[in-house]
């Protein structure tokens, strides 16, 4: 393993760049420094794992990059957008078009079928109905769920739900995939299946992936780079040589049906 490369020489291909990023909030009388001066740069196409124990601030960093939250101070620039300076409306557009998100608890809407869940971002993007259905069907096909597109989430296993969530995250063809403990609610077998799929998107579609996890083994297996956080501060940032140097292996187990 080697230390992360300097930011400057990768300027042209930087996807995420944060400078002294802080997110503080008050809880009663105490000031909680969830994110406390994090500076990092992620190249386009990189697969980065954010590691740390619970309360280390890794999810908070992810939320800031996702545009779900705003920094107290410092800056976070994603694909040339300074998120702190975007209006609420612009931030919503950013989340819609630039970012795809998957969560530990899948976060599919229970009252909608898989197809409806997957096409929901397209509704917000005001895509025509017929085109929406084609795209949703295609995205569900990519994660091997085309046959189940008219089922509701409750009728599916956790792995299937997370695959549907992945399909939803990809439907608007975002440049950035943000995953918050994507395997946290899955057994190790289905977890692997999901992670293989994420890596496939990273390699085939050239998406930048940032994944929050507390499982170091998982990060070592899939991420090209690991960033460690503790108490809201970046404490380590290293290249995972195994992944960088051995790029392709057979990961298509859970791929197309």
């Amino acid at each position: 393993m080697t230390t992360a490369p300097a930011i400057s020489n990768a300027r042209a291909t930087v996807a995420i760049h944060s400078e002294n990023l802080c997110r503080h909030y008050r809880m009663g009388d105490t000031l909680i420094r969830a994110v406390d001066g994090v500076s990092l740069a992620v190249r386009a196409g990189e697969f980065v794992a954010l590691l740390g124990s619970s309360g280390s601030g890794k999810s908070s960093v992810l939320n800031l990059i996702a545009g779900l939250d705003r920094p107290t101070s410092g800056s976070v620039i994603v694909q040339d957008r300074d998120l702190a300076k975007l209006s609420r409306e612009e931030l919503a557009k950013y989340r819609l078009h630039v970012v795809g998100m998957v969560f530990q608890s899948f976060n599919l809407i229970a009252s909608m079928t898989l197809a409806e869940n997957v096409e929901l971002p397209l509704r917000f993007a005001e895509v025509d109905r017929s085109q929406r259905q084609n795209l949703a069907s295609e995205a569900l096909g990519r994660v091997g769920l085309r046959a189940r597109m008219n089922h509701r989430p409750s009728e599916l296993s956790g792995g299937e739900q997370q695959r549907a969530a992945l399909a939803r995250a990809l439907i608007n063809r975002p440049q950035l995939l943000l995953a918050d403990e994507p395997t946290g609610n899955l057994d190790s077998h289905t977890g692997t299946e999901i992670m293989d799929m994420v890596r496939q998107f990273n390699r085939e579609l050239g998406m930048t992936v940032m994944m929050v996890t507390h499982e170091r083994a998982l990060a070592e297996r899939y991420a090209q780079r690991m960033i460690f956080l503790a108490d809201g501060k970046l404490i380590d940032d290293r290249i995972n040589d195994d992944q960088v140097n051995t790029p392709t292996e057979d990961v298509h187990k859970g791929g197309r049906s």
């Binding site: 779900l68 557009k93 989340r95 819609l96 998100m101 009252s111 509704r123």
Partner: protein, 468 residues
């Protein structure tokens, strides 16, 4: 988000908590129903009165008299402008034609009323006769009439009022509620003949047998005189009217009716002739009063002014009707306010339902925001839900309100029938009220959605996603 998508999402969300949203919608529909019921009662009553007034021929009628007569009768209500009594014109045939040519005037016909003796089966009956223009056919005094209206304006035909028909048949008119069936009265009378004995006035040059010459009492026409000749005329009974003469005014307030042209040609001596000897003596007919029918009640004032400029006195019940309009406006406002109260209560139900929905769907809102929904999208979804409940409630409510109206209308008519009154439509739901009620429910619902939608839109996605 596009409107069809929005509507679809809203309806889907409403279906998810079907019971709660249905109850809220029922609340709205009850509110709308009460509004519709109240307003349609107001509209119906107003229409009923307008219809009655329009049919009574009073609403759009101006009574024209020579100014002198008005003074004499002590009911000159208008001293502003206009000619002084001295300038007053004679109300004769040219004047009548001139009035008829005024803009907005439908027709101007002389009021001919005279007491006379009618013989039926050789028994004499004294009564008041009135002449009717053919336009009186649409008058509701003849709504429940048996038989038919005059076949022509000059036909030797007669229409009887119910109480006079009873008199002819030798029945005593019942007191209080009249149970007599007009059809029973009409059956033995229709087609029968009456003989009318009347006095005809003729210029005195005419050599008649029994004459009573009356000399002019001086004034402008010196030496004018006329004779009164007794005449007989056979009349065929063509109709028996249902109307109680005491409830009517104007020319219909009589017990026997003749066609106008026929009555005019008879040159019957009228009570006023004794006062207006000089006029009565002339060959040209002179009228004590002329009824002017105006195209539209709104133009009554214009016509009245025009007639006054010609030098005649006028009378209309326009002022009375103005007061009536005010009463109806106030009634309408009150009914509207009371009707709206239920809708306002229902709108609080919408607020409550949506606030609950936000609590329940907090996580869903967080998800939608995380995958790219803007504040506006979230707001629009809740607005659409509120609006859908409003429109649905509005539609159901209108049907509901219409139903209530029908039931009450039916029940009241049943009661009216038992009291032997004719049925009435005092319940009207015009299309504009239907549209207004639904739109009103829609806007009230949107207004109710304002606060919940704003609250949903402002939710912090990070916190909303954390919420289980």
């Amino acid at each position: 988000m596009k409107i069809p998508d929005l509507a679809e999402l809203a309806l889907r969300n409403l279906r998810e908590s079907l019971l709660r949203n249905s109850l809220t919608t029922v609340g709205i529909s009850v509110g709308v129903a009460s509004l519709v019921a109240m307003l349609s009662l107001g509209i119906g009553l107003q229409q009923l009165f307008s219809r009655r007034l329009a049919k009574s021929g009073l609403f759009d009628t101006v009574l024209v008299t020579s100014r002198r007569d008005l003074r004499g009768m002590g009911r000159d209500r208008d001293d502003r402008g206009g000619p002084t009594p001295g300038e007053s014109r004679v109300l004769d045939e040219p004047a009548r034609q001139e009035i008829e040519r005024l803009p907005n005037v439908l027709e101007a016909y002389p009021d001919i009323r005279f007491p006379t003796e009618l013989r039926y089966e050789d028994k004499p009956h004294l009564t008041m006769i009135s002449a009717l223009p053919s336009s009186a056919k649409s008058n509701d005094a003849f709504e429940g009439m048996q038989g038919s209206f005059f076949s022509s304006d000059t036909a030797a035909e007669v229409i009887l009022q119910k109480t006079f028909a009873e008199e002819l048949l030798g029945k005593t008119p019942a007191r209080g509620i009249d149970e007599t069936n007009v059809a029973d009265l009409a059956r033995p009378l229709l087609g029968k003949e009456l003989t009318m004995l009347y006095s005809q006035r003729e210029p005195s040059s005419t050599q008649s047998s029994s004459t009573a010459a009356v000399a002019s009492a001086g004034g402008d026409v010196v030496g004018a005189a006329y004779s009164v000749v007794s005449r007989e005329l056979k009349l065929k009974i063509v109709g028996v009217s249902d109307q109680d003469p005491e409830t009517m005014r104007g020319p219909t307030r009589a017990k026997v009716f003749l066609p106008l042209k026929l009555a005019q040609n008879l040159h019957v001596m009228q009570p006023t002739d004794l006062r207006e000897v000089s006029r009565a003596a002339s060959d040209q007919p002179v009228y004590s009063s002329v009824s002017v029918r105006v195209k539209n009640p709104a133009q009554v004032k214009l016509v009245e002014d025009a007639v006054k400029k010609m030098g005649f006195g006028t009378f209309s019940i326009l002022d009375a009707s103005r007061g009536l309009q005010l009463v109806f406006t106030v009634l309408f406002a009150f009914l509207g306010i009371f009707g709206s109260l239920a809708l306002i209560v229902a709108s609080i139900g919408i607020v409550n339902t949506l606030v609950m929905a936000i609590l329940e769907r907090r996580r869903e809102i967080g998800i939608m925001k995380a995958i790219g929904a803007s504040d506006g999208d979230v707001k629009a979804i809740f607005f659409a839900e509120a609006g859908s409940m409003g429109i649905l409630g509005g539609i159901v409510g209108v049907v509901f309100g219409w139903g209530i109206g029908q039931v009450i209308n039916m029940a009241t008519n049943l009661y009216l029938k038992s009291q032997s009154f004719p049925p009435e439509h005092f319940w009207a739901v015009p299309w504009w009220l239907v549209a207004f009620a639904i739109l009103f429910a829609f806007f009230v619902s949107l207004l109710s959605g304002l606060y919940p939608a704003g609250r949903a839109a402002r939710l912090d996605p990070v916190q909303a996603l954390r919420y289980e």
